[in-house]
């Protein structure tokens, strides 16, 4: 890692975005207000499934301060919330969510009407007075249940999807041992501190429609909104505020975003909607709920011959903006870091009468890692081989990189694992964790009656998927640098990372770099912050653009200093001779002044110390990691204490190790939530049982162990100039797997854990079963 003072890439410099956040000056969606604004309140279904017989808004309409109440009829010209991703979308289109329920309601929380009133209290009063008569229909609460009817002509099994390669039947026929497991991941999701928020404003003077409170993917959402609302892209702008957490779920387009925009235009006043926590836990995207029937075939030495997995994906009531992306990511990543000669996955992509699902941090991958690592853990005792050894025998070797996984299905993209030394990271992690000594110590503690165990989860992550992103960089006459990106910040340190990359390439102090993001009117493109793309895509574009600016600066300085360009260097914003740094020099600000439009001379080319650079790739980068956990179970309550947890992760190249550590630790604690605490439980009528934070248990500091982090840079990506991979999702991916393994060992039955989350009551059941089995 570069250690000299002038290098910014790879240093744990302080975050540029922190001062407003820690001094209370940040501006979140709820802080945005416009004069004369209206407040929107949704009227939501209290039934999980039913026909809407009637909606009576007359009493509510007459209440003081109520300006309008809309139902589906009032916005009949607007289609359902559109997909922004998914090639298989055509077949899935009938399952998109209407902006307001038409004919049927399909989950508790389904928006049926929207009230617009002078203040949020009056809006809520009126929303209560809207009378909806619903004739209940049979409720499907599990993707295991037989499919029913979504709408006339469309069953609740929206698709059956296949991924595979190799001769899977031969693999199982030739197997020495076959292990079959029935595995479930629980329904959970991101619960950002800041709930969703949307403020629609129509600037009639300029015919521009604005959405404030955008996050994650402003430009992608602009594209969708332009299509849905029939507007020109130059007249539809999204604006990001400070964002209090995203995790994949915040920043997607939801019905409420469409409604505030429509209302802003049609009612002629700004419209504000701020989601409350109860709505958030009922209506924002959820995820993870899958039921897998998975089999692995191995030879006598524990080498994998094939994996065969049939699973049931609970999509909830509608298919939202991601289409079937989560199920696809599950299928693509089941084999993970291992060499699997034959593979077959069949996904039953089913709708249920619960909150719709979409991507949540490490989408499909937290699930697939749990499944895969449970299978691997089951191989070990079956064949009497150490679990680390089983993994080593099957890991794809560094020498095999790049390693292509080609699926038979023509519409499924190959996975080309770009680089990696999986076994090397496993060795480093195991050594850093003191695994061998630890196992001896845990065995001794178990002999003394303690319920303690260690577990491991290995995985690959994926990120930086293209196609293209760009950045515009300009230096002003004071030497201040402005970087305009189409990126987005969800709190991850985007501004700092971009400033570091720019500073390194250009030769300035990163604190003089101001990074703009999240405004579609400032730059016409942008990849946003999703699927751990930002640092790889936008970061690479910033690197390209900064190098272009550098070249312009050096060329200008060569003339100003009468020195050949190749003899010049830029340090701390000053250009000087490489061999005489204290000699004649000119600052970037002086160069910018020299190149300013008013100083330009004919024939000199475009004025300005500025450039726009792009980075394009068709490939994905694959960082990889190892999670190691030690747990202790309280025999009297079933409570699980995580004594230690290590995240070892290869990021290719670390822009800011401190921020990466933050990403990994935060993700890991979210992963512990899904492994031990958080679950969206529904009763048999489809009523959600976890609609407050008293029932939906997000781990607190008390539950969070000190997470040990090992960041490595052993396998830079060959796919971008800086070797970047990504860090956003490596902390969460393997947590369920590692905790499951650790609990299995603690109770003396490595394969015992089949289901997440491991609530104390479920752990007590496992203990009881283990006791019954051993007696």
């Amino acid at each position: 890692m570069a250690a000299d003072k002038t290098a910014y890439l790879g240093r744990s410099v302080q975050r540029l975005e922190d001062p407003p956040l820690v001094t209370g000056q940040a501006r979140f969606a709820a802080d945005i207000n416009f004069p004369n604004q209206l407040h929107m309140r949704m009227v939501r279904s209290s039934y999980a499934h039913g026909e809407i017989v009637s909606i009576d808004t007359s009493e509510a309409q007459a209440m003081p301060g109520v300006v309008a109440i809309w139902t589906a009829i009032d916005i009949a010209d607007i289609g359902p919330v559109d997909f922004r991703a998914d090639r298989a979308a055509e077949a899935l289109k009938p399952y998109r969510q209407p902006v307001l329920a038409k004919g049927r309601v399909r989950y508790v929380g389904d928006p049926v009407a929207a009230v617009f009133a002078e203040d949020p209290y009056l809006a809520e009063d009126a929303a209560e007075a809207v009378v909806i008569e619903i004739e209940e229909l049979p409720v499907i609460v599990s993707a295991d249940d037989p499919p029913g009817e979504f709408a006339a002509g469309h069953g609740t099994e929206a698709a059956v999807m296949h991924h595979g390669y190799g001769d899977i039947d031969a693999a199982f026929a030739n197997a020495d041992t076959v292990i079959e497991l029935d595995l479930r991941t629980g329904r959970h999701s991101g619960v950002p501190m800041e709930t969703r928020g949307a403020i629609g404003r129509y600037d009639a003077a300029n015919d521009i429609l604005e959405l404030h409170g955008a996050a994650k993917v402003p430009h992608r959402n602009q594209e969708t909104l332009v299509k849905m609302l029939g507007r020109d892209a130059s007249r539809m702008h999204l604006h990001e505020c400070h964002v209090g957490g995203g995790f994949g779920i915040r920043g997607e387009l939801y019905p409420e975003d469409i409604l505030v925009l429509l209302a802003a235009m049609r009612l002629g006043r700004p419209v504000k909607w701020i989601e409350d926590r109860q709505e958030h836990l009922m209506c924002a995207n959820q995820g993870r709920e899958q039921h897998h029937l998975a089999r692995v075939a191995v030879d006598a030495e524990g080498r994998i011959l094939g994996i065969d997995d049939e699973f049931f994906h609970d999509q909830g009531a509608y298919i939202r903006t991601h289409g079937s992306n989560v199920a696809n990511r599950t299928m693509c990543t089941i084999t993970g870091p291992y060499r699997v000669p034959a593979f077959r996955a069949v996904c039953h992509f089913r709708l249920t009468n619960k909150t719709p699902c979409a991507t949540y941090r490490a989408p499909g991958r937290y699930e697939s890692t749990f499944v895969r690592e449970r299978l691997i853990d089951a191989i070990a005792p079956e064949l009497g081989i150490d679990p680390i050894e089983v993994r080593k025998r099957n890991l794809i070797a560094a020498a095999e990189m790049p390693y292509t996984i080609a699926f038979d299905e023509p519409h499924v993209s190959d996975m080309v694992l770009d680089s990696g030394d999986y076994a090397g990271l496993l060795d480093k992690a195991v050594a850093a964790f003191g695994w061998q000594a630890l196992k001896v110590e845990l065995a001794r503690r178990r002999a003394d009656g303690e319920l303690v165990g260690a577990g491991i989860g290995m995985f690959i992550e994926e990120g930086g998927r293209g196609p293209t992103d760009g950045a515009r960089i300009a230096v002003d006459i004071n030497g201040e640098v402005e970087v305009i990106t189409g990126g987005a910040s969800l709190g991850q340190g985007f501004e700092t990372a971009m400033a570091q990359i720019c500073a390194e390439a250009l030769g300035v102090d990163y604190r003089r770099v101001r990074v703009i993001h999240g405004h579609t009117d400032l730059i016409p493109y942008g990849i946003g912050a999703h699927a751990t793309r930002a640092t790889v895509m936008t970061g690479s574009a910033v690197d390209v653009a900064a190098k272009m600016v550098r070249e312009i600066a050096i060329d200008a300085a060569a003339e100003m200093l009468q020195t050949p360009a190749d003899g010049l260097d830029i340090n701390d914003g000053t250009v000087a001779r490489r061999n005489d740094p204290a000699g004649p020099a000119v600052t970037l600000g002086e160069i910018a002044r020299r190149l300013a439009p008013d100083a330009a001379k004919p024939g000199q080319g475009d004025p300005g110390l500025a450039a726009e650079g792009f980075f394009t790739t068709t490939d994905t980068v694959f960082p990889y990691g190892v999670h190691l956990a030690v747990v202790r179970i309280d025999r009297g309550t079933g409570a699980v204490a995580v004594e230690r947890f290590m995240v070892a992760y290869d990021v290719g190249r670390a822009v800011n190790p401190m921020m990466i550590e933050g990403q990994l630790v935060g993700g890991c604690i979210q992963g512990l939530g899904g492994a031990l605490y958080e679950e969206f439980v529904y009763d048999e009528e489809g009523q959600p049982m976890a609609v407050t934070l008293a029932d939906y248990l997000v781990p607190t500091l008390r539950e969070a162990p000190d997470i040990e982090v090992l960041i490595t840079e052993d396998a830079p990506s060959p796919l971008n100039p800086l070797g970047l991979k990504s860090a956003g999702e490596g902390g969460i991916n393997g947590v369920g797997a590692a905790i499951a393994g650790a609990i299995g060992e603690a109770i003396g039955d490595p394969g015992a854990v089949r289901r997440l989350p491991l609530t104390p009551a479920r752990v007590m059941d496992l203990l009881r079963r283990a006791d019954a089995g051993s007696s």
Binding site: E124, T637, V698, A761, M764
Partner: protein
Amino acid sequence: MKPAAFSYHAPETIAEAVAILAEVAPEDGRVLAGGQSLVPTMAFRLARPAHLVDINGVEGLDRLVLDGDELSIGACVRHAAFHRPVVEGCLGPLLSSVARHIGHYPIRQRGTFCGSLAQADPASEWCLAAVTLGATMTAMSVRGSRQIRARDFFEGIMTTALADDELLTEARLAIPPSDTRFGFAEFNRVAGGFAIAMVLAAFRLEDGVITEPRLGVGGVEERPRRIAEAEAALEGRAPGAEAFRAAADAAAGAVDPMEDINTSAGYRRDLVATLAFRALEQAGRALEQAGA
């Protein structure tokens, strides 16, 4: 999550408060003390009182004093007042250890001891303490004042013997004999979460055997209660694992646990056995530490 409209009253004396309460009680008037239960319930519109009688400005209700052989806890005494022992002897540390289990720090700064009693949530630590320690509640109204004993006070989930027009002005806890030993054990899943089960145990020793045993269970049934079967299993026995186990099993056998989608009756029963044993062990350890 905005409350429905209500009228707000801010009396300055108890007489004024009960007079307003008498007037607004028939129209669903409610007393506002710390508001840590009532206000969120109003935000969800699960409670929609037409009137709120805010007693935070009522003179004298924040009194927390030793009155003879009783601790008098005024209606506006906050949970946080108990963070450090409020009285000499064994009661102060007990109340401190119980208080630490109530919600989070900011909640404890605002929420009140008497408010918890009046709310009568089955998972309330103070309700369990009141029942196990034998508190007496003072209820005042325009009709006068009356004393209600804890065992008669709690009637069910969120239901007490208080009439709609009565203000709980204080709770009185008898100071237990100084050689009383206590133990308290609670199980919840995350910091500040509601108790899924909790046990408060107390006993004294005479001639090496347990006397005056008390074992209360909270968060398990609709209201906290002392478990006579467990107390009988302790009475006259030498303190130790054997007696504690017998009492814990008796408690687990005697309770009739509530069930919900996350927590089966069987699991709550298991917790009672565990927590009763741990509370008793704690009391036993207190004994050793005291050198008895």
